[in-house]
Symmetry: none
Subunit: 215 residues, 2 copies
DNA sequence: TAAGAAATACCGGGAACCCGGTATGGTAGT
DNA sequence: ACTACCATACCGGGTTCCCGGTATTTCTTA
């Protein structure tokens, strides 16, 4: 076996102190080489032609200026094989989902230990996706759809049944036929669902039902 | 501040060797107390009435007999506050998604180090969701991959704008007012959206848009 | 057993939707 | 210059929704 391969690392982080500690972390690892470290996305882009191709980019998601999420797409376009780790202060950041969709490979909290961050870099290089546990919790909620609100909807069984059929695009008459009840009854249930969910039309009820994981 | 709280741990694992090493791991931690360790789900259920309530259950997902995923629901029903960590040999296990939906709190590979498993237990106790990086990769694919058509819906810019407003529950007249265009125009766009997405009513278009991540 | 919730059923009127048309000016590409 | 597409605008007729009511029959549960 020969030497372990060396991996180039870029850092994009505007907090000077935090960036300095990231730099230290990377430099202390033998198999990592810090090749570019900047405080804005705009500067990062300037390195596209001049700096060594990165294997890993560490990027703050809360950067001022251009959205850190938009930037992900550009990095991936420029360097298709790069692994991107987003860093964030907050674990309840709505941008997590956006970043994942844009192609981020990992998602770590800034309050993670240095050890955890280094391990995260190794994980992405091995093809894994390092995720801080509290962020993973968010992701799992998204996947399982059990958003916290869904426990307090106090919809009855019958109302839930009808709600599912509404979400599937059925009209009142269709539901009436499928459940063998009068269309008037379906109408009544529908009105009650609207009242309980505080919406006033079909579109909103469908949107609410899906987003809150009621179906 | 008094002593750190002690957390009860159950282990459900049929591989005798692996179970023994899990037992060792737990027993070596001061704040963890191994209170029940069995090799099948059936036996685990027997402990519902007689054994101390667990804070954490470590369970193999590949157990013979009753599905480990079904078991999750029973544990959660019996002990609503318990944190469940599933253990698996394979990171490409299709049951990952099922387990998450059933309410598992964490998902670790058996090949994880003892250190990582102990950290995982601490993570769930802190309300997080420990996930092995290679499994997290799977999850992220599910999250980002559930909108594959997203790029090829051939909706125009304007149609997308109107679609978003439709999903938010706006009527044609409201959209017309917001975009400063005639309601007839909005109607035309809506018809074109219906045709392109092959749906025939508001509910279906909202459902499609949300589920396919078009909005 | 009395009260309350759930499920059922009905009516009418105004609003909104769905669809099949037709039509025109602008703009991007070949 | 021609084609294709986009965004805009209009009409009419049938369908469906939305909301305000009222009302009866189970269930459940305190």
């Amino acid at each position: 076996m020969s030497e372990k391969p060396i991996h180039n690392v870029w850092i994009v982080e505007d907090d000077e102190l935090f960036r300095a500690s990231l730099e230290d972390l990377v430099e202390l690892e033998d198999q990592l080489e810090l090749v570019y470290s900047v405080n804005s996305i705009e500067k990062a882009f300037e390195g596209f032609e001049t700096k060594p191709i990165p294997s890993v980019i560490l990027e703050d998601i809360e950067l001022p200026g251009m959205s850190g999420i938009e930037a992900i797409r550009y990095y991936k376009k420029q360097f298709p094989d790069v692994a991107i780790i987003m860093l964030t202060i907050f674990d309840d950041d709505d941008r997590i989902f956006e970043a994942i969709k844009a192609g981020a490979d990992g998602y770590l909290l800034k309050r993670s230990s240095g050890e955890e961050i280094v391990k995260g870099i190794q994980d992405v290089l091995a093809g894994g996706a390092p995720i801080s546990p509290s962020i993973a919790k968010k992701m799992m909620r998204l996947l399982s759809g059990n958003s916290p609100k869904n426990k307090e909807t106090n919809l009855t069984k019958r109302e839930l049944t009808i709600l599912k059929l509404l979400v599937d695009g059925n009209t009142i008459d269709m539901i009436s036929a499928k459940l063998f009840i009068s269309p008037f009854t379906v109408d009544t249930h529908t009105k009650n669902i609207y009242r309980k969910l505080q919406v006033h039309n079909r579109s909103s009820v469908v949107a609410r039902a899906i987003k809150d994981g009621l179906v």
